[in-house]
Symmetry: D2
Subunit: 338 residues, 4 copies
């Protein structure tokens, strides 16, 4: 008989958490949702309906005391991550922490210290794009050397629109953070410096954000990457990457699906949200995390990746206000994450 | 706690059966492989390695006697299906029968009679294309009436190459049978007549097959569909469909994946086999079948679909030798399958 | 000094003729419009405005008597072609005759007899697609043998809509005639038989035409070609050809131009009429004809091509009413056209 | 009768000049090549063979003295332009000057002073991309406001390879100069500043050039544009532009032509040189110049455009060595060019 399914608790029953409950309950092999935790008991109960047999709690402490989970998905707002992570690590539970690890490099470093003290890696960070089929394929191509060495990366990241409260800083921390991680993922290197320039502003952009912006990223060995970030692009949700090699160019993320011809146009529909664009990546992310937890390992993005992203975001926010090239300040990487 | 997983036996441990063992063991939710059956005990044991805890048997009788399964995947060669299906139906087990249901309409009708006598539908037939994302999308578009009524279907079906033993008749029964089912699926109608023409023959075709051939299909209400079938096309495995509507045209099956530019070409790689082209469709097919079995229903292609395909294949084979338009002979459809 | 420009008379000052006046006057090298002929003097004068120095006439006789042209473009309605051609041939003038050569094979044969009697080829027929860049490229690829032998041709021909007076017969004679010529052009062979089937009819089709229809064409050596003809397709004007070879497939005619992404779609605009779709082909056709006339030769589609198209159209119209495969009746080809 | 053809002299019978001789002699309406000028008499005679009746000269003075031309195409190396232009302007002849106008902003300003003194514009500069169908279409879309205001431009410019002598400075002056002009053309604005960054260097790049490089351009009103310039990209010749608007994105320059499927790939061939990529643009450029000369006007890129490009190149070359953002120094624009 197959071994027992992994009992997973989902902490935070908002949009993202509820999604994970549904995913783990119905589309993930070798795992079940054993508990849903939310300070709002009603919200927890609502999300738990999708998972037969799941218990509900209103705090991490209750969950841990009840020993109702073998592993945890942390989907609360980022500013609550540090406190929760410390308790989860203390209990020795593996955790899939939605991005960001924490909102700033200092708190991320504190989490890293505690994980190191625990003696084994327990944290995976939710950079789900690393599990997208296109990202994986491009990573393979880069590593294979099929087209020679990677020379440049060009990213396009477009959202249909943002809430009125969306700020310049959120454009870095919530949106471009994905490209920061992507550049680290593709290059296998740390990021050395960041530059952010903004030019003409869309009249359709919300008030608090200069939109679009152009971000240039350079890695330790000198690789240049850039990002066209446009979060009020109206047309839908698009994430493209183009990699230039010594002997070829590879593009991922172009619109797939069916081709239609109607009303004088031949074309394809584009995704309207990251939910549909990356639904398969989320599924693959959680499945691999479950498999890794059962195997006692972390192979996805780890706490160091979460810290490094926070450090680059800090430099990016500084670059936004300064205009020039800003160096990234990074602690020395512990062998623990080698 | 979630309810018990469905115990599935896979009968036939060849390429297809072994694939299903691996799929159910590792990528299917709410199911486990409880048994593998093959007349060759070693082959059964080999396939069973992928599924922790699976028992092995060398005959359907042993399997049934041991009561080691709640449901069955039948993946033996087609000429063995009738005998196995009758035993499985007698035991009252749901079965996912790889195509064909049986090799000819007469034996398919006999299976239908036994299923009808059983009083409830137990058989799903393995027309996996119905679970392909593109096929599902096109079916939705047709049913939605978004572009008006469906007027024509154009299919292209290419294989890289065939074994030397591949015959004209196999071209109909093993290859075009998928388009016969596709036309029935998309139109929601029975096929009335079939015409097959062959013209210039590829010098790279294997000896026993005229290749390529052109097949024209007409449904009960008059809808025309055609198929370019080319099984020694060298270039890879391609399955495209183009649907023409009153106010638009939709294409599915074009090459996806990443775009590369190298050596003077911008392009995309094409699949080399149906395994990679339809891997997601197979996964979706089995998952939905498991969900349906747990819900006590058949929503996928059923025994009648299997019979109708066999009847159209019989007409197709006749059309190959005659050149003209051949009518399909079909029994009256029992209300049982309404 | 460069030699004198070719003096071209355009006969017929309707839409097509006026187009040619403008083309020859402004976009054709080594030619000038010396005369415009139309039974309606006002219409002739209107068209002639685009060509500085062009004289106007109301009959072919007047034109010939005035010796005002070195060569002629004949753009009157098809039923007037025979009479005009005989006079032009008698005068020994080279002529670019818009399609059809004449409306039926019998009259085309009579024209051929007169041209033969004249002792040298003087007629080019306006199958302008042969001058389209895509058609030329595909013809080169076929002749090169780059992908092995040509095995199948698949054509799609769509118009946005037709006038209310458009009939089944016009669908063959005015629309599919282009594909009949294309198959002869690509294959370098005569067409042996034709089959026409119609299925579901678009509710948006005009009253006198079954639309769409499916045409199958076979050449002397057995090559199969088919045509999806849909003249009320609403979406615009599209002419695609796909050629299947022993080791590859080539498509021409897909929408070009710029790619746009807006309102949830990534796509390209499609042409709305044959004027825009084939404007470059018309220009190239006339330029090459002028060059050929100056060199004393006919290298484009000749009178035999015009006759053969008329013969295939006659078979096509018969096939429309009969449903089965209809053989094409063709006179023996004179060495004169070898 | 049509008026007399424009008598054009081509000065410089190298690759580019010989191309123009052939173009004007055979593909340009209302113009003839009346003279070919080259210091190497044999080379002049060689090029002149393509143009019936053309005289040959070995100096601009001889040409002018013989009064053998109504207008001039100047296709000598750039460092010889100033001297030739002054003589041509003095003779009052219209001139199509291949890029660059002159190699540096100072000499370009001197040419401008002389043209101003002549009292009317006589110079067009050979930025042929402005005559490319894609460029024209994008310019129309920008000016139409169809997708709202233009917000960002992203350019890709790739050459297969460079001669060993190709330097960093040539990368700016010979290659990126086209994008400098493109940004001015599309935006209708002067360029304010330029930044050039280089990262990883291709091991296949020739010795004297850091390759690829990334160039950021900002216009007077703040519009950001960037250029991926990669002159040893191996794969062929590619020039793409992507324009992001408030409500849409438009791409031009993607590979056109036929689509092929063979050897496991579906794709399109890419151009191997600027000759094939921009052949139609060169033809359109010369035709429009001829038409403009006959109409006594300059509507293409003028001497001011040539000067501005030289000024931006000077800033670009400085930016290459400095890394930061370098302001462009520009004289005040005379009303003469308004």
């Amino acid at each position: 008989m197959p071994s027992q399914d992994l009992r997973v608790a989902v902490i935070g029953a908002g949009l993202m958490g509820a999604d994970h409950v549904e995913r783990i309950a119905h589309r993930t092999v070798r795992a079940e949702v054993s508990a849903v935790v939310d300070i709002d008991a009603e919200r927890a109960a609502g999300a738990a309906k999708a998972a037969e047999g799941a218990q509900c709690f209103t705090s991490v402490e209750e969950l841990l005391q009840a020993q109702a989970a073998d592993a945890v998905v942390l989907a609360t707002p980022g500013f609550l991550h540090e406190e929760a992570l410390l308790k989860i690590l203390e209990a020795g539970l593996p955790v899939m922490c939605e991005k960001p690890l924490t909102p700033d490099p200092e708190s991320s470093l504190r989490v890293i210290e505690v994980e190191k003290a625990a003696g084994r890696q327990l944290i995976q960070v939710g950079f789900m794009r690393r599990f997208d089929a296109g990202y994986r394929r491009l990573k393979q191509i880069i590593d294979s050397g099929e087209y020679g060495e990677l020379l440049m990366l060009h990213h396009q990241h477009r959202n249909a629109s943002t809430p009125e409260t969306f700020t310049d800083e959120m454009l870095i921390h919530d949106s471009v953070v994905h490209e920061f991680d992507a550049v680290r993922f593709f290059s296998g290197e740390e990021i050395s410096n960041v530059q952010v320039r903004s030019g003409r502003r869309s009249s359709l952009a919300t008030k608090l954000v200069r939109d679009p912006q152009h971000v240039t990223i350079q890695t330790a060995s000198g690789l240049l990457a850039d990002v066209e970030i446009f979060v009020n692009a109206q047309l839908g949700y698009q994430v493209h990457t183009q990699a230039s090699f010594e002997r070829g160019v590879v593009k991922i993320g172009e619109s797939g699906g069916h081709e239609f011809t109607a009303e004088q146009v031949t074309g394809r529909q584009i995704d309207q949200s990251f939910h549909t664009r990356f639904v398969d990546a989320y599924d693959a992310e959680i499945q691999q995390w479950v498999d890794d937890v059962l195997a006692g390992q972390v192979t996805g993005p780890n706490a160091w990746d979460g810290y490094a992203a926070a450090a680059v975001c800090a430099a990016g926010a500084k670059a936004q206000s300064e205009g020039g090239i800003v160096d990234v300040e990074l602690a020395e990487k512990p062998d623990f994450y080698a």
